[in-house]
Each structure stands twice: as structure tokens, then as C-alpha cells.
Symmetry: C2
């Protein structure tokens, strides 16, 4: 069989990893797929820039169309990132019958349905294992490994930057601002960290995972996202004291075919397997009706872990090419989407309140919960060490999101509640 | 497309789970594969036995050949267990062009190469995800998810019975005999627990995992196996005190294409992700040169978790049927097998010795290690509370298996060493 030719869009960290793996493991890959895999052309921003990988200058181009429209290129590997231009390139490549492997979570979260429909139309493969949780083969697991099961819950630590920050805050008692600064110096956080710390990156990944896990087209705007920028070291201290770790969790749930997807800092019981996932590692916990609890753990980012997933997708495309069965993976999202309302979304909550330190306050506060039919698992009142007021820590039983919002609304008009310091979802 | 017809060999726990999932998820499965999946015939030992599942009596048969040679059956699902007869049925089914899904680790560990060759010859699929770690899709992960990587280490807790026993011993300070008895009463351990507690079951699973991970035909006799029946509660107490958990680990390692595979009770540092896998849960930790550390966690056994994997394999076979590409998954084991010698197998070791309590003993003992060039990471001597002798606990640096055996041989002729109480491999 003639060599399979690949056009690589982007030669940053991950692109370099792809070149290294395709070249370093050429013999193994060839044995598996039955033909050589050659990187034919690589899109770069500046051909003359010096690089820490040796690649023939003939292969470099600054013109994306030279790759997209190259008559001999079979597969496009997209690791340049971005949305509008990248989407244009990918749609054009598909319409020319080229298969696509991409690591682009932003693109797949926003335009996945359109891209997959285009691929279907032209009998092309679009694979995107690397778009979520780097080296962990979670997309394959959801689509193939659990094809026979009905997944009811997906909880993911899918953003390494925020998990690094929360881990450091927990282990060293450091403040959010100090750890963010350190993470930026180490290259674990961007100069503008908004997308990571506000939960947007995680929301994009949860859009992809919930679409695959629940087989319904979940859109990014269906995912409510809250980040970690207002998490204080006191919150983490309280979490630990009560036997929890605070983690930024993406949570997708399904009940009677109604779904909800969210990203928020969450108190996770220490005995839950996801509570001990630390540092830049990612993990995805999946609960299926038949399989029960499972968890998949590994590096969520980085040159080689991400490239591993990309090249595994490339191997799958080339195997399909050999068998003549590209573009036949079938529809992934064939179920009608029904979103839960805030009345239907239910979980336990942790609340930390600063209140007036006088008789009858606790009774008034707990009455508010009772008025909205929220029952309480535990209540702790103690003096606030820094102010002449009391702190009340409450963990509720399962309550609807709507009911908690009503409780919080009511607290605003209650003069004895000086401040609702923190509200977190509780899991495990 | 006409319905795909399945012949089920066995209607025990797992077989019942397969019927439940195929019937309960029929609509979902049909949407995914494009045709109904029907269980046509089921082999049972006694047709008139009462069952906790409703199945038409016409479908039951006590004659395996009625299923194997049934002209309309496309796929055989084998969940009856056993080796010699089962192999005969499967080979005959393959030679008649029927595809096979099996949960039979014993059969695949002993005769996998022969069965896969027969399948290749007749262009049939043989899938066996359920044979290792129940509901965890670890075979798919090794073969497809990590197709682009070079796996260098696989460590597995792949036997739920022994993990349950060790967890209980660790958490409750109970003795092996007491916990085994309890596990037998709860149905977690067989009346004859030999295969589980002596590490044979785990060795079979490691044969399968290492063959796939290292792409070489590892045979069961290549796997050295040691079980947990001589683990004492003191061993576990010492492990915990030193910051370790004692786990029955299957360990497969590769270095410069030389491999070793073993099963043994192992002291695992508490910070290692596999150390906190408790109870009947299974987990497989995989280290790849590119992807780094990963771990896959879930239920290792049970009706529905195991059936999940079987039906996911069935979905894959039916998709291949639809595409006309069965039997083309390619060779999984194309590398020549080179086993490490005992001189090349290296790890850290824990030793607990009972020695004479007099001057110069420690010097003589540590001299033995020095003679065989084993260097020591830590040494602790303390009085033995129950005897007028001393206990010495040693953790070595990396040492070859051969060197440790020489050290142990030398201790036999050393009168100051009363007893080598325990020797364990150390990881993490």
C-alpha cells in the first residue's frame, strides 16, 4: 500500500510531539496499519524560525491552503487551535475528502455537530480524542467501551491548571493569587488565565463528553460554568476539616433522559476516587447503570501525552482507510436533548455564612431552609475569629438548585445574615 | 438489515447479565449498529432449572452443537468458562465462520494465540474485553487507545477477591484466615479459593494484558506467580507504618524490548494511585513512554459490569459485520518475545528478619547484602515483642531478583538469622 500522507496544521508543542511520535514509532505504526505514515507538509507561522526538532524545510509552509488542497494528502492533523479560520480549513478539507484528526476542544465544543455532519456527508473520519483529557482515551471509552451501557453520570477533572492551583492551595494552605502567580511562572497557567480559572475550558470539554456519553447534542450554552477565582484558602481549610477536597468538577448527569451539565468548584468526599487526583493530572469518573463506578486517570496536557492520542486517532483513520470504511462510525448523538430545569437539578450543598452573633439567629436561618423544604445534614456554629460575629457552616441534604437560589435570595433580605461567604456543591 | 443472531454459551451470572443488557438496551443497541441483536439460543446445563430471568424455553438447549452449528447464528458469546471443551466449541464455531465474544481468561491465557490464528484464517472476530478487569475497557485501551505509544509498564490489581481480603486486613487489622472465611460467606471468594489467593487468576490476566501491551506472545508459564496466603497481619502493619499498602499486583515491565511479567504481594507507596484501590475494585496502571502515567479503575467482576464489556464487544462485532470487515483487526503480537533473566529483573525489596539479639548481628547481615552488591535504602532494628530476639526491617534500593535470591540463600547458612519472616517487592 502506498504511504499515507499527513498534513499537519501547527508545529507548536503538540505538533512537535506528533512529529516525534510518528517518526520515532514509524516501524511499530507501519506494522499495525500496513503502510508507512508520512508527514508530508506542516503549516507554520514562520518558516525561518528555529525549532527544537529537525524537519526538512521543504515540508514547511506558511500557506494553509497548500496543505488543505494538496492532492496527495489523505489526513489533516489540526493542532493549531483557534476557531473561525480553523473551522474553514477543516470544512474545506472534508469537502475534498480528507480525513481530520483534531485536538481542538474549542472548535469541537462550538461546531462539533456541523463538522461531524460535513464529515458524514463526505464519508470522512473526524476523530478528536486529544480534545479532552490529553492522553486519557476517554472518548473511545465512552463511545466504544461503554456502547452497551447507559451512562448516568460523568464527573471530570478536565482542566490541569485549576487542579494544580487547588492542589497547591490544599497542600500548602496558600492563597489563590499566590498559587496562580507561581503556576504562571511555571508555565502551567497562561498570562491571561481566564479561560482556565473561570471554568470555560472545562465547560467546553464537558460539552464534548456529555454529548458522547448521553448521545445527545449538548451545546456549550447548555453548560453552566463557574470557576475557582473566588475560592479562598479558608474554604479549602473548611473542606478539609469536614473530610472533603475542593475540586473544579465538570458534572454531567442524566435521569430519565433529562440531563444537566455544569462546571463548578465542588466539595468532594475524600473517600471518592476523584478526590485524590492531584496536580496537573486529569481524571474522568463515569457511572454507568450496568458497569457502576469507573475512573480514567492520566496526564491532561503536554506535548507527548496529547500527541499519543492524536497519533492513536491517526492509526484508526489509516486502518479505516485500508479497510475502506472511513466516515462510517455512525451518529454519536441520536437522542433528543432534554435539559433539566433548576427545579430538577439536585445535589447537596455546603454554605458558609457570616451572621450576627446573638440569640435566635440560628433558628431564623434554619427556618429559611425549612420554608423552601431544604433539609439539613449538618450545622456548625462557631465564633468568627476575625470579626465580632458568628460563622455558620451548613451542609444540606439533596436539594434542588432552584430551592438553594431561593434560600440565598431570602438571606439577602435577612439582616442577621451579614454575608454568604461561600456556596459549593457537594459530591461523594 | 436482518437481525444479528447470537448464540449464548452459558446462563450463569454473567450470561444472565448479557441477556438483561441485550434486551434492556435493545433500542439503543439497534440505533448504534443499524439492526436488531437477537439472542437466538442459549446453552444451559439443565433446561428445567428455575431462573431469575424470563427467557422463552424454546431458546434453551443442553446441546452445545445445536448452537455452534446453527446455520443462522452469526456470533457466539461464550460465558460458560472451562478450557478443553470450550476451546473445541470455539474453534469449531470459528471454522464455520462465526464470530466469538468471550469472557474466558483461562482459555485466552492458555490458548489465545491458537484461537486468534484460527480466527484470522477464517476472517472472524474474536473479542475478549471481559476476560480482564470486568467492566474496565482495558483491552481496547491497550490496543487502540495506546496504539501510538510504547508501553513500558503495566501494574494491575486484577483480582477482586484478593484485593478484598488485603483491604479488609489493612483496614481492620484482621488475619488472612478470618477475612478469607468472611469473603467466602459473602460470595467474594470460592469454596476452593486457590486460583484467586495463589495468584493464578491474576497471572492469567497478566498474560493477556502483557501480550497486548508489549505486542509479544507472552505465555502463562512466562509469568511467575506468588499469592497472598502467607501474608500476615504483621506484614500489613509494618507496610502501613512505613507508608505502604500491601497489594497483590500483576507487574509487567519492558526495557529495551526485554520483558518480565510477575504476580506477587507488593508494598505500594501510599501516594501511588494504585495504593488506594480498595475492596473488590480492580485497576490497571499503565505507563507509556509518551503518555506517562495513566490508570483505569472499575468493577472487576459481577453480572452487569462484565456483561457491559461483553455486549460492547458484541456491538463491535456487529458494526464490523455491517461494514464487512470482520477478522481484520490485524496481528496483536508481532514482536519477538525476549524474557528478562533473574539478573535483569530489578526492583526494591522489603525484608523482615528475626535475628539473634546480640552485638555484631546487624553488621554481619548488612555485610551479606554488600557481598552481593545490594545497597540498602533503610534499616530498622527493634526488639521482637514476642521473642527474646530482634527484628530487622530492611528496604533495599533497586536490586536484581537474582541478587536477592543469593542474599536469601546466604541467610540460610547464617546462624544469627533465625527466620526470614517476609520478603516483598516494593513499588512507587
Amino acid at each position: 500500500m502506498r504511504p499515507v500522507k499527513v498534513g499537519l496544521l501547527g508545529l507548536g508543542t503538540v505538533g512537535t510531539g506528533v512529529v516525534r511520535i510518528v517518526e520515532g514509532h514509524q516501524e511499530d505504526l507501519q506494522t499495525q496499519v500496513g503502510s508507512p505514515i508520512m508527514i508530508e507538509k506542516v503549516l507554520v507561522q514562520n518558516k525561518s524560525k528555529s525549532r527544537n526538532i529537525s524537519i526538512s524545510p521543504d515540508k514547511l509552509t506558511e500557506d494553509p491552503w497548500e496543505i488543505i488542497r494538496h492532492p496527495e494528502i489523505d489526513v489533516i492533523v489540526e493542532v493549531m487551535g483557534g476557531i473561525e479560520h480553523t473551522k474553514e480549513y477543516i470544512l474545506e478539507a472534508l469537502s475534498l475528502g480528507k480525513h481530520v484528526v483534531t485536538a481542538n476542544k474549542d472548535l469541537m465544543a462550538l461546531h462539533g455537530a456541523e463538522i461531524l455532519a460535513k464529515a458524514q456527508e463526505h464519508r470522512c473520519d473526524v476523530l478528536y480524542e486529544a480534545s479532552v483529557a490529553g492522553g486519557i482515551p476517554i472518548i473511545r471509552t465512552l463511545v466504544e467501551g461503554f456502547s452497551s451501557d447507559r451512562i448516568t453520570k460523568i464527573m471530570g477533572i478536565v482542566n490541569g491548571t485549576t487542579n494544580y492551583i487547588l492542589t497547591k492551595m490544599s497542600q500548602e494552605g496558600a492563597s489563590y493569587a499566590d498559587v496562580l502567580k507561581e503556576a504562571q511562572e511555571l508555565g502551567y497557567a497562561e498570562a491571561d488565565p481566564t479561560s482556565d480559572v473561570e471554568g470555560l475550558d472545562a465547560a467546553r470539554k464537558m460539552t464534548i463528553l456529555s454529548t458522547l456519553g448521553f448521545r445527545s447534542n449538548v451545546a456549550l450554552e447548555d453548560v453552566s460554568a463557574q470557576g475557582i477565582s473566588s475560592v479562598s484558602k479558608e474554604d479549602i481549610l473548611y473542606a478539609k476539616r469536614l473530610g472533603y477536597e475542593l475540586k473544579l468538577l465538570g458534572i454531567a448527569e442524566r435521569q430519565d433522559d433529562q440531563i444537566s451539565v455544569s462546571v463548578q468548584p465542588t466539595m468532594v468526599k475524600k473517600s471518592h476516587p476523584i478526590a485524590s487526583v492531584n496536580g496537573v493530572f486529569n481524571a474522568v469518573y463515569v457511572y454507568g447503570e450496568a458497569v457502576g463506578e469507573t475512573m480514567f486517570y492520566g496526564a491532561g496536557a503536554g506535548e507527548l501525552p496529547t500527541a499519543t492520542s492524536i497519533v492513536a486517532d491517526l492509526v484508526a483513520v489509516v486502518k479505516n482507510l485500508k479497510l475502506g470504511v472511513n466516515g462510517k462510525q455512525g451518529a454519536v448523538a441520536y437522542k433528543e436533548k432534554k435539559l433539566k430545569t433548576d427545579e430538577q437539578i439536585s445535589s447537596k450543598y455546603f454554605l458558609l455564612l457570616h451572621v450576627a452573633d446573638r440569640a435566635g439567629v440560628l433558628a431564623r436561618i434554619t427556618q429559611v431552609f425549612a420554608d423552601f423544604e431544604v433539609s439539613l445534614e449538618s450545622v456548625l456554629q462557631q465564633p468568627n475569629p476575625s470579626n465580632p460575629e458568628a460563622e455558620i457552616i451548613i451542609i444540606t441534604h439533596d436539594a434542588s438548585k432552584a430551592a438553594i437560589q431561593k434560600v440565598l435570595g431570602e438571606f439577602k433580605s435577612l439582616d442577621v445574615v451579614h454575608k454568604v461567604k461561600s456556596v459549593y456543591r457537594v459530591e461523594g
